[in-house]
Symmetry: C2
Subunit: 146 residues, 2 copies
DNA sequence: GTTTATGCAAAGGTTTTGCAAGTGG
DNA sequence: CCACTTGCAAAACCTTTGCATAAAC
């Protein structure tokens, strides 16, 4: 597993991928943003840091990084695919359907759940990056009066 | 909540929707398949039962049924949106990434997990239809030798 | 009869692909 | 050098939409 202080080059080589500018830049962007990002957001962030790559390149890079397990991909709604750098923890999120905010979800709860599913069903849930939706109890955008 | 022996007409009227052939047929198809289905699968199933409706109609019908809470919608991967008839229970599934099989997931485990997330995060996960992926312990398509 | 649903065709948006040129090891 | 990556443009893909016709209430 790549450490957070590994250089993009090391991370890439460690995964058997060629170290190219596009991949280095995407890795930097994803690591800086400690959150998941859409392709558009990645491209914008790249632009802010002075790099420009074609959309197709960004898609390919994200797919490559996902293929070697460096990046997690989630589909929230159609056309709203998000990517996130996989670090040691906090891969799981809850997204509020009312305000759209995304919050980290306690890893331990998820692991506990996965264990139980395995005990009960003999099934190992592959949850490196889970996104659950729901409503925050104190969501500012809702009059949670139920 | 619609009972499993309610006629499609009753179900529709009970939800304030007009009873039309397309809606009746889609309801029948979803109820017969006790699983979630893609739009393509719904259309194919309709064809098998002798009905043909336009794609746009099927999309609209599924959207309508979803709008009144009769059908649940999940995005697994891009262009792989699945729909499922909401009955009393068993809305949750685990899908094996190796063989593609979808198995029911114990509702109670999910409810337990949701409770814990709520306790911990003050967040009510809206999981009417959860689909988790992973690997079956005894998956026929895998040499589960890990 | 009025409102709503359907089919058709075409648009919309996101993601993928083919190929030539450029770059990494 | 050879294999892989990138940019560009176009295709493919799923989903939505506009409108005239048809059906439901």
């Amino acid at each position: 597993m790549p450490e957070s202080n590994d250089s993009p080059n090391d991370v890439l080589r460690g995964s058997g991928l060629r170290a190219t500018p596009a991949r280095r830049a995407v890795i930097d962007v994803l690591r800086e943003s400690r959150n998941h990002m859409t392709v558009i957001e990645v491209i914008d962030a790249l632009a802010l840091s002075g790099s420009r790559f074609d959309q197709s390149t960004v898609y390919r890079v994200l797919s490559d990084l996902g293929g070697v397990g460096l990046v997690a991909e989630s589909r929230l709604s159609p056309g709203d695919t998000v990517f996130e750098w996989i670090s040691q923890s906090n891969h799981h999120h809850i997204q509020c359907t009312s305000c759209g905010r995304t919050l980290p979800l306690d890893d331990e709860l998820v692991q506990q759940f996965i264990s139980r599913v395995h005990e009960r069903h003999g099934f190992h849930v592959n949850a490196t990056h889970l996104v659950l939706s729901g409503i925050e109890h104190d969501c500012p955008a809702t009059d949670h009066s139920d």
